[in-house]
Amino acid sequence: MSSVILDMAMSLDGFAADRDSVSLYPIDDLRGIEALYKLIERAGAAVMGRRSYDMARGDFTGYEHQQPIFVLTHQPPQTPARGLTFTFVTDSPESAVRQAKAAAGGKDVVVIGPSVAQQMLRHGLLDEIWIRLVPVLLGDGLRLFDHLDYGRIRLEPAAANNTRGITNLRFGVPIRTPAGTPATKGHSS
């Protein structure tokens, strides 16, 4: 069964991008990070927010995830970006995940972007969280785990290792039952 995986870089103080909205780690610095290649191999589709989409400035040629991309946005652009197939999802995060899973053909769905990540967490849609923890304190910027004021979520640590100073962390997200007690999902990771 295909898993929904959040994949983000984060500074030790919790930011996904600095105060100038520059993404924490450019892809060029990630060459050789094995965890990223594993993820690219596993993924069949990606869901991202409008901010991440706009950061590519209209051209996804050479983007790491060469897959169908589902962009969660209230206002689809008039002309989609070049390089990949885009679907603009305006109704709900659930709908984006449903459509991405269908497109992924049994492979996994990668989730990209802080705002989308927060929406997915609030709706209990993530199966795994992959964090590339970057050894830097930024002091300010765009927080990855913010606005999560719905109570706690216990995670299951799956793996951690260091690659050239970047710590690759992987966690499983247990299903939350309506009563709020976690049950194990039993996905493999």
């Binding site: 600095d18 050894p135 002091g139 785990f145 913010d146 216990r154 995670l155 640590p157 793996a159």
Partner: protein, 205 residues
């Protein structure tokens, strides 16, 4: 020279206590206790006579804490929340330097020397360094003291025990940092089912 170290358990979303921390709920009211699940991951009390039961990599982390630190620096709020450790700090009854504007008139009596420092974080760390001798200085929190120490460039190392939980609110550790970009050097990482132990050295400019 002795190192000045931040050593704390933190949730993946950056909190060292859940919302509503007070004397009755030192780790907050909503899941904060999971920050320290790793202290209780085993079955045998360790060090003997304490309430801790760490195992494997977790035991090594606790052992390092007991072996390494000769003095602790703490904020007044932390002091109040833990009732001044009843006068005896759990780690080797080490001396504690408490940053406060108004020293309490009647601090608890125990085996630790409790020192109240009124002239700032730099002074507190200097005094702790002298008291620690060959050993390192532990900046124990709360978050505000940690932030002051980081902003003043007084920290050599961060040891973060990253707990696998999203608390969604509470006391954020690395917040309000007045830094542009501090590069860290990642040390070894040790994983257990209840926590990931991370170590970073602060790169000096």
């Amino acid at each position: 020279m002795a190192d000045v170290v931040i050593e704390l358990s933190m949730s993946l979303d950056g909190f060292i206590a859940g919302p509503g921390d007070d004397q009755e709920h030192p780790l907050g009211k909503r899941g904060g206790e999971h920050l320290f699940d790793w202290y209780l991951s085993g079955s045998e009390p360790h060090p003997p006579g304490t309430m801790f039961k760490p195992e494997g990599a977790n035991r090594a982390a606790v052992d390092e804490m007991y072996a390494r630190f000769g003095a602790f620096v703490s904020g007044r709020r932390t002091y109040d929340i833990v009732n001044g450790w009843q006068g005896t700090h759990p780690v080797n009854a080490a001396p504690v330097f408490i940053l406060t504007r108004h020293p309490p008139s009647n601090p608890p009596k125990g085996k630790s020397k409790l020192n109240f420092v009124t002239d700032g974080i730099e002074s507190a760390i200097d005094q702790a360094r002298s008291a620690a001798g060959e050993k390192d200085v532990h900046v124990a929190g709360g978050a505000n003291v940690v932030q002051q120490a980081l902003n003043a460039g007084l920290i050599d190392e961060l040891q973060i025990h990253l707990a696998p939980v999203l608390l969604g609110g509470g006391v954020r550790l690395l917040d309000g940092l007045d830094v542009r970009r501090v590069t860290l050097v990642a040390g070894p990482v040790a994983v257990s089912s209840s926590v990931t132990h991370l170590t970073y050295r602060v790169e000096r400019q």
